[in-house]
Subunit: 336 residues, 2 copies
């Protein structure tokens, strides 16, 4: 092995322990057995010269921990991304600590402070808030945001699905299948991700000579169980006898709620009303009938976020206002 070519991974492999353990031995930080310490130090001594660069990259101030802020671990889109982040960073010798903010602004602030206190080296932030404030994000550590646009961009990278394209594709699918009066079913919030889906919806209507109308915009409260709230909202629409032949729901649980309401009122899906959801959650595949939906590519989103954060953790300078947009795709099933 040549000078300077040995990495922490090599040391881990050669001593038969994990990267995280090597890091702890070098930093004399945390628990490890005497046997482990000897094994690791033997390998390090064997490649004496290179040790300095390792020690440098693992300077004492690093905790080899990253923090993840997530609005709701019981939401499949988030939980799958968080899993992938954990898995990626564990292989890189980092532990991931996850904080569930329950979409609550106070909790989000508290948990950011908790993570500060736990000295995390970097942060993956999936905010439950409409906008991430400057105060929250002006931390002296690398931060990557997923799916929620930060107000400011200093030292923050931002990765999201192409929500506009998703809204456009969903609406155009309904139009292509003959719908002319398309409800938009969404939650009462002002998240950038949801707003982009709305712009896509409006532009697709316009492209095909249709127009959005105020009474076809159904925005349900954001504080209850999504499915039940959506079902009740569509039942109210049916009772008001508002005419519609398609529903674009901005997530799959809203879509399923709408489907249940229509079935309860004997409205044929997709015969009389067609539905497109969003996210391609597992439920969309196995409900009855399976939902046509827009797939967000969780794999690529997590991958971009992790690689970006790792580059920043390794001291690479990332330009301001870095923004990745990941393509979505239409999954055609039985509701269109």
């Amino acid at each position: 092995m040549k000078k300077n070519q040995i990495s922490i991974k090599d040391i881990a492999r050669l001593s038969g322990v994990s990267v995280a353990t090597v890091s702890r031995v070098i930093n004399e930080n945390g628990r490890f057995s005497e046997e482990t310490r000897q094994k690791v130090n033997e390998v390090i001594q064997k490649y004496q010269y290179e040790t300095n660069s390792i020690a440098k990259s693992l300077r004492m101030s690093k905790s080899q921990t990253i923090g993840v802020l997530v609005p709701d671990i019981n939401n499949e889109f988030f939980s799958v991304i968080v899993q992938k982040v954990e898995s990626f960073f564990f292989k890189q010798g980092y532990s991931t600590i996850i904080c569930n903010t329950a979409k609550d602004a106070e909790k989000e602030r508290e948990y950011l402070k908790t993570l500060d206190g736990k000295m995390v080296d970097g942060l993956v932030c999936i905010s439950g808030q409409e906008e991430l404030s400057a105060e929250l994000l002006k931390r002296p550590i690398p931060i990557v945001c997923i799916d929620r646009r930060p107000k400011i961009n200093t030292n923050v990278a931002f990765i999201e699905s192409n929500h506009y394209e998703g809204g456009f594709l969903a609406t155009e699918e309904l139009i292509n299948k003959g719908c002319k009066e398309i409800l938009l079913l969404t939650k009462q919030n002002n998240l950038s991700s949801v707003n982009e889906r709305l712009y896509g919806y409006k532009d697709a209507l316009q492209k095909h000579g249709l127009y959005p109308s105020e009474d076809r915009l159904v925005a349900v409260r954001n504080d209850g169980p999504t499915l039940e709230t959506a079902q009740a909202a569509i039942e109210r629409v049916l009772e008001k006898k508002l005419r519609f032949d398609g529903i674009f729901a901005t997530n799959d649980w809203l879509a399923l709620g709408a489907l249940l309401a229509l079935q309860k009122y004997g409205v044929q899906v997709p015969g009389e009303v067609k539905i497109v959801g969003f996210d391609n959650d597992t439920i969309s595949q196995y409900c009855n009938p399976p939902l046509t939906t827009i797939e967000q590519d969780k794999e690529t989103l997590a991958d971009h976020a992790c690689n970006m954060l790792l580059r920043m953790l390794n001291g690479e300078k990332i330009e301001r206002e870095q923004h990745y947009s990941v393509p979505v795709r239409l999954i055609q099933r039985s509701t269109t």
Copy 2:
């Protein structure tokens, strides 16, 4: 307000900040604004005498953080419990940091060390391992285990569903509906929770004069996607033309995999084969047809675990081998 009666909650309420913030101000630990510090200290000064007891209960060595080890945040049973734990402890002034161990023994060891390093005051442990080793659990902090039986019980409380009762109820439901040849569909592991369900299955058969047979025990590999693995396993059983008229699946994803295999082969459910799952995951309610299943009471499980841990955190001595068993119930739907 009488002497010694003021609590940290009262201080939080009177100063209009959260319990966690009061804790940080008292301990001069973490971030808070000068304004917040003044507000809190005003309230504390107003009730001068009582401050000592607060300071004592919030001694500097406490981090007001608890750790949660969870095998898979993408499993609804776990993610709902973790959410409830977070919510409970946030109200008590604790932050919760969650570590996802991906059912991996090495990760579980690493994350226990990470949580040690982060100085958590207590631990909720839902292990992915068959048995929690003495080494892992002999920590000097209160620990509550959910759903996985620890090998040793020093300073550890253990809370689980009555899995035996669940296995018994599921099997008896199939027998009551006329099944005589009941497959057991499970994963290849040796978790105490799953073993108990098996004992329940065997005892219910025996009670009704039926007998378990080796070839009706289908144990699928534990390392792949549950649904697809179960579907493939039941397809193999169908190709071997093994006779059976009922399936007890030890979780809902196994049950859904079995349902899809039967539907693919044109076997009528529940006409020719009946199915009972386990957990009452959301998918069991919305798949087609909806699954009969055994509900685990996540609310009560989380509640017991949190109250137990809080009592230990507050210095109460909990007797050894404390063990709570939470009742389950049968949810009858359309597969029986």
